[in-house]
């Protein structure tokens, strides 16, 4: 039963995504500009770091290749989630204008419908940029690639994407109660990916502790990356803590799932 529901959800997700891609292509000029604009936005995002490094050789003790590695891993993980779940911020709007009801009566899991709603193919730009920068950093890093480090790299990207996905889902669930407060989510999603692009040594240890124990963003890329780069943990945790990323990701997704269920149950229609 649960399995067929998952299959049904994924199938519906794929169908809705396909529909939105076709719909986007109706305004082709706009899509091309959007896709280029998206690439430009992410490129400019990195330009900040480039400009910073035109003045200094290291930031928080990390050189350009190392910061680029952090940027590439954070951006790729976030890009994957943003492509798949980026429309979840719109839940609040649907609650406000009453169109949430439509989703509830369809014989498809609501989460799949909401995640695929207004699927934006242009968001693939961030993944392209993240992977490109990650590739560049890998060519310039001075790392002893033992098997555990090689293995940790893809594990980090997938766990990171899953942790971000949990944030998107939990943020969307929160909007069932506070339908106007969609922007709170941006502080953790966009704010999180921005923070993780910089070395943890740039921030205060209180902040690093907060994103370890309260909101475990540090497992998206900081802790696995510190292990790969052979750097000490800034808050004194054991070096192997980076390997806990998949466990943290699973726990986050489970909690987000519970939050989503609770949010959906708490939903009251506007009645209009």
């Amino acid at each position: 039963m649960a399995e067929s529901q998952l299959y049904q959800g994924l199938r519906a997700y794929a169908l809705i995504v396909g529909m939105w891609v076709r719909s986007t292509m109706a305004y082709r000029t706009s899509f091309v500009i959007m896709a280029l604009g998206n690439l430009a936005i992410t490129a400019l995002d990195f330009a900040v770091i480039g400009l910073m490094f035109s003045h200094v050789d290291a930031l928080g003790g990390f050189d350009l290749a190392e910061v680029t590695f952090l940027y590439g891993t954070s951006s790729t993980a976030f890009g994957l989630t943003d492509l798949a779940f980026g429309s979840m911020e719109r839940v609040g709007r649907r609650v406000r204008d009453g169109t949430m009801d439509t989703l509830l009566v369809r014989p498809v899991p609501v989460l799949a419908q909401v995640a695929a709603d207004r699927f934006a193919l242009r968001r693939v730009g961030r993944i392209i940029q993240g992977v490109a920068l990650l590739g560049w950093s890998l060519a310039h890093l001075d790392v002893n690639w033992t098997w555990d480090r090689v293995l940790l790299l893809p594990v980090m990207l997938l766990s990171g994407a899953a942790i971000f996905a949990a944030l998107f889902v939990a943020g969307a669930a929160f909007q069932f109660w506070a339908s106007d407060a969609a922007e709170v989510q941006s502080a953790f999603t966009y704010g999180g990916t921005t923070m993780l692009q910089f070395p943890p040594t740039v921030f205060t240890t209180e902040l690093v502790r907060a994103v370890t124990f309260v909101l475990p963003l540090a497992f998206v890329n900081w802790f696995p990356a510190l292990h790969i780069l052979g750097r000490p943990n800034p808050i004194g945790l054991p070096d192997g803590i980076g390997f806990a990323a998949p466990l943290v990701a699973v726990a986050c997704c489970a909690l987000a799932g519970l939050a989503w269920g609770a949010g959906l149950r708490a939903y009251r229609s506007t009645g209009s």
């Binding site: 305004y27 604009g37 936005i41 910073m52 003045h55 930031l59 922007e183 740039v202």
Partner: protein
Amino acid sequence: MRLYTAVVASSFRRYATYRAATAAGVFTNTVFGFIVAYTYIALWDQRPHLGGYDLAQAMTFVWLGQALLAASALMGGGFQEEFQERIRSGDVAVDLYRPVDLQLWWLAGDVGRAIFQLLGRGIVPMIFGALVFDLALPASPLTWLCFLLAVALGILVSFALRYLVALTAFWLLDGAGANMISVVLSLFFSGMILPLNVFPGALGETANALPWAAILQVPADVLLGEHQGAGLVGAFAFQVGWAIALLAAGRLLQSAATRKVVVQGG
């Protein structure tokens, strides 16, 4: 004139209605302020007088950027999408029949929005910043007055730019692509992602001459006391010059659009 004042007031009330959204925005601005502030501290730690700013001035720039982000619509928004939707749906034909000036109508609405967001989303992040970091805020009330004037002129330039962008919908119908390009240019060339005086050489000079500099960089430098005497007059002239040029360009483009483009009928 009374009509436009009424539009300003009702737009102010419209934005003031969404209190949870305002609180959420303040929260997000504050979180971003902290993240950016720490990265700047790492940068200024190595280059103490980068771009002619000391650390306190750099911190002030960070928090001012967060405080003006919504009011000066540095990430776009405001009236843009609404206007574009009216163009796409054809409702703009009704707007054109009304006995009001189209550009002034939207300007009045945007001014009301900006005043609310300056108060509602500007002050609290700035206080947070001032509580945690050492900021270089001026003591003289005259400097604050000059700063407010610079912010107002910056909002006018921002509106003029967004009006031009919104009008592209007459040709493209879907304005999302143009809006996105406009956000990229605005974030980069206003100084939002890094102060323009940290930009190297020719890039810095170009960026300082473009209209986006009038939205954040100029108000920030006025607040930080970087412009004095004739320099201050020059800074205001720069803002006024761009505002007039861009508002005039908006009128030209608008008349071209309304003459040449057939509005979608329904």
